[in-house]
């Protein structure tokens, strides 16, 4: 099953289970349309009707605000944006309302909503390319998750829908496995086993994607796959890499990372988000505070350079971390 299909299954199962769950967003299931920018909600209106699969005007402020209002008054909205970059249009609603209502009300109001957002650089230029995880991890009151496999996509989204807080779900455009006219060039489209029976994946529990002895790499989304590619190359050079996918950035599973560096003594963080003040910086600082004595070398961040995402593939490929860059940084790390 692809990630897009796994997300769709999660939504379908939760909508069957709980009539409070509904979807809203732009182009999410217009007849003859796309089923959302990357096909996740395709065909759901056949089963649930257009009342619960609500196609909206191009009004991002309204979409986010409506999700907040519906969530506060007994519904469980799953809203989405076509591209993560559009989250900026709705930032007031996300940061000032969704994130703060529970707190401002002294814990008397809950906002059980999901906001899904595709991220990642995919030769669309600067405004359909950003990885915005860092912005949202900075806002107390939001949970931030980023599934990188089909299994995780389904299990984490189901948990997000059942969570009583606003959860922002970052999905990667090159990992969806969208088909037909919505297929992405140069997509990895990982296909994974998804069990028939129901399962949920708790937040704050990392997955170890690969075991190793020499370097711990923490990465999310597409960067997991780049790191895996790098690890295969490094293995031939005798460098053994352990790869940890935190799966959720808020809450974050520090325990798994610390247990890993106890073994490897070296930590690299790979993120597609730009480097300055990114989530990787936060992880690095926290590990330095809590576990620096387990480390034999400085913590390294491999991130997108601090520039807008350029269009030309040769430029885009240069600014976003590649397997090659991870390999080079890993070699340096082994020698430091």
């Amino acid at each position: 099953m692809s990630i897009a299909e796994a997300l769709r299954e999660a939504i379908r199962e939760e909508m069957r289970r709980d009539e409070r769950v509904f979807c809203l967003g732009e182009d999410i299931d217009i007849e003859g349309g796309f089923g959302g920018a990357f096909t996740v909600t395709l065909g759901l209106s056949k089963e649930f009707g257009h009342e619960r699969i609500l196609d909206t005007p191009i009004s991002e402020i309204m979409i986010a605000g409506a999700a907040v209002g519906a969530a506060m008054t007994g519904m469980i909205p799953i809203a989405d944006v076509q591209y993560g970059d559009f989250l900026f249009c709705m930032m007031d609603q996300m940061a000032n309302n969704a994130a703060k209502m529970t707190y401002m009300s002294g814990g008397t109001v809950k906002v059980p909503m999901v906001m899904r957002a595709p991220v990642g650089a995919t030769t669309r230029g600067a405004q359909h390319a950003q990885s915005l995880e860092g912005f949202f991890t900075h806002i107390p009151g939001l949970k931030v998750i980023c599934p990188s496999t089909a299994y995780d996509a389904k299990g984490l989204l189901k948990t997000a829908i059942r969570d009583e807080n606003p959860v922002v779900v970052f999905e990667h455009k090159l990992l969806y496995g969208s088909r037909g006219t919505r297929a992405e060039k140069s997509a990895l489209s990982p296909v994974g086993e998804v069990p028939e029976e129901e399962y949920l994946i708790p937040f704050g529990v990392a997955a170890i994607r690969r075991e190793g002895r020499d370097i711990t790499i923490v990465a999310t989304l597409l960067m997991i796959y780049r790191a895996m590619e790098a690890a295969a190359i490094l293995e031939k050079e005798g460098i053994s890499v352990e790869i940890i996918d935190p799966r959720t950035l808020v809450p974050f599973d520090y325990e798994t990372v610390i247990n890993s560096i106890k073994k490897t003594s070296r930590l690299m963080i790979v993120e597609e988000d730009t480097r300055r003040n990114g989530w990787g910086a936060e992880i690095a600082a926290q590990i330095a505070e809590d576990a620096i004595y387990y480390l034999d070398a400085p913590i390294i961040r491999v991130a997108t350079y601090d520039v807008p995402i350029p269009f030309a593939p040769v430029l885009e490929n240069f600014v976003v971390p590649s397997a090659h860059r991870i390999v080079e940084e890993a070699r340096k790390l082994m020698n430091s």
């Binding site: 009004s59 402020i61 409506a66 999700a67 907040v68 209002g69 007994g74 529970t102 401002m104 008397t108």
Partner: protein, 325 residues
Amino acid sequence: MKEKIDGEKILRMYEKMLLIRKYEEKIYFLFLEGIMPGTIHQSQGQEATAVGMLFDLRIEDYMTSTHRPAGHCLAKGVTVDSMMAEMFAKKNGCCKGKGGAMHTGDISVGAIPAIAIVGGGMPVAVGIGISCKMRKTDNVVVCFFGDGASNEGAFHESLNAAAIWNLPVIFACENNLYGASTHINQVTKIKNLAVRADAYGMPWEIVDGNDVIKVNEAALRAIERARKGSGPTFLELKTYRRCGHSRNDACGYRDKKEEKEWFEKDPLLICRNYILDKKLSTAQNLELLEKNVLDEINRAVEYAKSSPYPEPLDALTNVYFGGEK
């Protein structure tokens, strides 16, 4: 109008307006005395919009408010005690001391904690409308906002969405002529903001916002439309602040002639004169009513003063409902 608004109801609306006026006057004095932390945005002069719009709502109906929420909240049924305690930053305030004046509310009576970003409550009201409709209730939401919000993107997105989906939202625009210190004429070319509803295919009315009976009559029409599934209504309530925008604002930007004209149209005075003219009550009884209101407020002040502050560590709770994990 189907049924004439009866005398008893007018008296109760007057009493509610009086409660709001006296509550805010008390807050103002306490603030000037330096007893109260924070800042204040008062709604004196706008009591008729709050009471007229909300008097007939059920507890299950909702209301979204603004940075000037005290009148709306009292009219929707938030208790004076819990509001006063919040103003004193106490643990038993309506937001446990975490909201303050600009986020006053109590969702248990349908008063959504006030949203203090101009226009920010409007899309939230759309979502509440979706919720009321999807849950197959006939509940409605009254969405308050000022003239200033009519130039926000959120305003336009919200009106459009409520209209296309026929949502039970009543947009109550309190046009008090000023966004902070800026006159509406300086930032808006049209005279009546209500006509903007036309652009979204939404019915509208322009109402004397200082006459509680007229506001209430318009509200009843809009509520009825919303309850029976006929969709949203836009009401432009023409009104005026008797006080400054916030804190110690002396309103140096306002024309004194304009102030005088509006002050003569004080909603409490208009209602009081109506009551006495129609002999719905006597001056003596209204005095007694006022005394009772003042007593209630003074009791609330005592309650708030004697209430405990939150513990500093309480600041770290309620970030997530049920904790972070």
